[in-house]
């Protein structure tokens, strides 16, 4: 079985702060991996390694290997823009651009140099269908994205990420700002998207991790405490710390 994402002996420092310690982890294609742990445990930082969003922060230093589709993405000649096309991202707060619904989804195509309007139109529709938003927005494609509800905006952001055909989608607490119904919709969507994408999701919500993921990784103080099948983690965690965290006894 080949692994689409792998890190080996990965260490990350924010200036002097050792944020991630010797993380070895491999993720398979077409699975959902949940990263859980208390705030500040390094799970979001770990997520942002895979599309090099950590580059935007000053003073970040990395040692070890981060491989995406077999390639070390921290090599000198890595094209970051190209990497981010392959590794999409959905953020905690829905952040649609101040454009129309159509243009939001088309944005990624346009910045990647696609001008064929017919192609863009088809791709926008396809992405919206995939993100289960098409039926709700097909009659108002030229309305502002801000007119949508929070949950719809988040699904729009997912459609926006899907449009450029990534193979991996990173999700940083994608439902934490949404109401329970919208959250359930996003979770169903993640389950559907697994067919075609590899998904890594950071979540504070243990039940969410349990519901959507195939594998779960528990981070604590920058260390990977336990990583395994979600079923195993939630029925029979090997580590005492994992057990205490998922049962709500600390963290």
């Amino acid at each position: 079985m080949n692994h689409i994402i792998a890190t080996e002996k990965l260490n990350l420092f924010y200036n002097d702060f050792h944020a991630l310690k010797d993380i070895n982890m491999k993720m398979r294609a077409n699975t959902v991996t949940a990263l859980i742990g208390p705030s500040g445990c390094g799970k979001s930082t770990y997520l942002r390694l895979f599309n090099r969003m950590n580059d935007l922060i000053d003073g970040v230093k990395i040692t070890g290997d981060v491989r995406v589709e077999g390639k070390d993405i921290y090599e000198k000649n890595t094209d970051v823009v190209d990497l981010r096309r392959k590794v999409g991202m959905v953020f905690q707060k829905p952040n649609p651009f101040p454009k129309t619904i159509f243009e939001n989804v088309a944005y990624g195509l346009r910045v990647n140099g696609i001008n064929d309007n017919g192609f863009i139109k088809d791709k926008v529709e396809q992405s919206l269908v995939q993100s289960a938003l098409w039926d709700e927005v097909k009659d108002k494609m030229n309305k502002s994205a801000f007119e949508l509800s929070g949950g719809q905006q988040q699904r729009l952001c997912i459609a926006r990420a899907l449009a450029i055909e990534p193979s991996i989608i990173l999700m940083d607490e994608p439902a934490s700002a949404l109401d329970p119904i919208s959250t359930a919709k996003i979770e169903e969507l993640i389950y559907e998207l697994k067919q075609n994408y590899t998904i890594v999701i950071v979540t504070h919500n243990m039940q969410q991790a349990a519901r959507v993921s195939d594998h779960t990784a528990f981070f604590y103080l920058g260390e990977l405490i336990e990583y395994g099948e979600t079923k195993e983690i939630f029925t029979n965690p090997k580590d005492k710390k994992t057990q205490n965290y998922i049962t709500g006894r600390f963290g």
Partner: protein
């Protein structure tokens, strides 16, 4: 269909598989009893392992469903019901296994007259048709069928109560066949237990669909 719906459906399918296996186990012992077919009885005993395997798998699936989906309301009642129906089915399977072992240990075809006077065959028919009907109630979420089980269990109970006198009478007239008579009495006891399991399963089905707890309720209450 949501992810949870899919998982629940899978669980339901697995439980129905278990159910059919147990029904076939019981039917095989029925046949083995009539024909004194030791091979068939042997098959039943061997198959008991499969029943146990099924039980463990469904238990495990229920555990995962609880852990991963935190089901509530009907989903919660469904999962709880599956868990309990599962253990009732496993015990029913044990009954079939026990009967199979009696047949294996027997030293010749059972006396037709003994089978007739004790009504054990009738009991067999009733028990396995109850098991089939209650499966139907589960599959189609039909509480009416489930409720009908309570009355039918009384038939089994009556046969069971009568059996002591019947077997005693038989032994008096056939003092040379005491062993077989006691075997049949044990089988009757076991079939009576099968009826009780069906009743428990019916209660679980009603609990899951209507959220009513019928355990330890009076007969009148159950009929409502």
């Amino acid at each position: 269909m949501t992810h949870l719906d899919k998982e629940s459906l899978q669980l339901k399918t697995d439980l129905i598989g278990m159910w059919n296996l147990v029904i076939s186990q019981l039917n095989k012992t029925h046949e083995a009893l009539i024909n004194f077919d030791k091979d068939l009885a042997h098959e039943v005993v061997a198959n008991e392992k499969r029943v146990n395997g099924h039980e463990l798998k469904i238990d495990n699936d229920c555990e995962n469903l609880f852990a991963l989906f935190n089901p509530v309301a009907i989903d919660l009642r469904f999962t709880l019901a599956v868990l309990k129906i599962n253990s009732n089915l496993e015990r029913t399977g044990d009954m079939a296994d026990g009967i199979g072992r009696f047949i294996l240990n027997g030293n010749g075809p059972f006396d037709e007259e003994l089978l007739k006077v004790t009504q054990v065959i009738h009991m067999y028919d009733e028990a396995s048709s109850m098991l089939v009907d209650i499966l139907m109630a589960f599959e189609h979420e039909n509480t009416k069928i489930a409720r009908s089980i309570f009355k039918r269990d009384e038939i089994l109970n009556q046969i069971n109560i009568n059996s002591i006198q019947v077997v005693a009478d038989y032994i008096r007239t056939h003092p040379d066949n005491i062993e077989q008579a006691l075997f049949v009495l044990s089988i009757i006891r076991k079939l009576e237990r099968v009826g009780d399991h069906c009743k428990n399963i019916a209660e679980e089905i009603i609990f899951y669909i209507e959220a009513k707890v019928l355990k330890h309720a009076s007969k009148k209450q159950k009929a409502e």
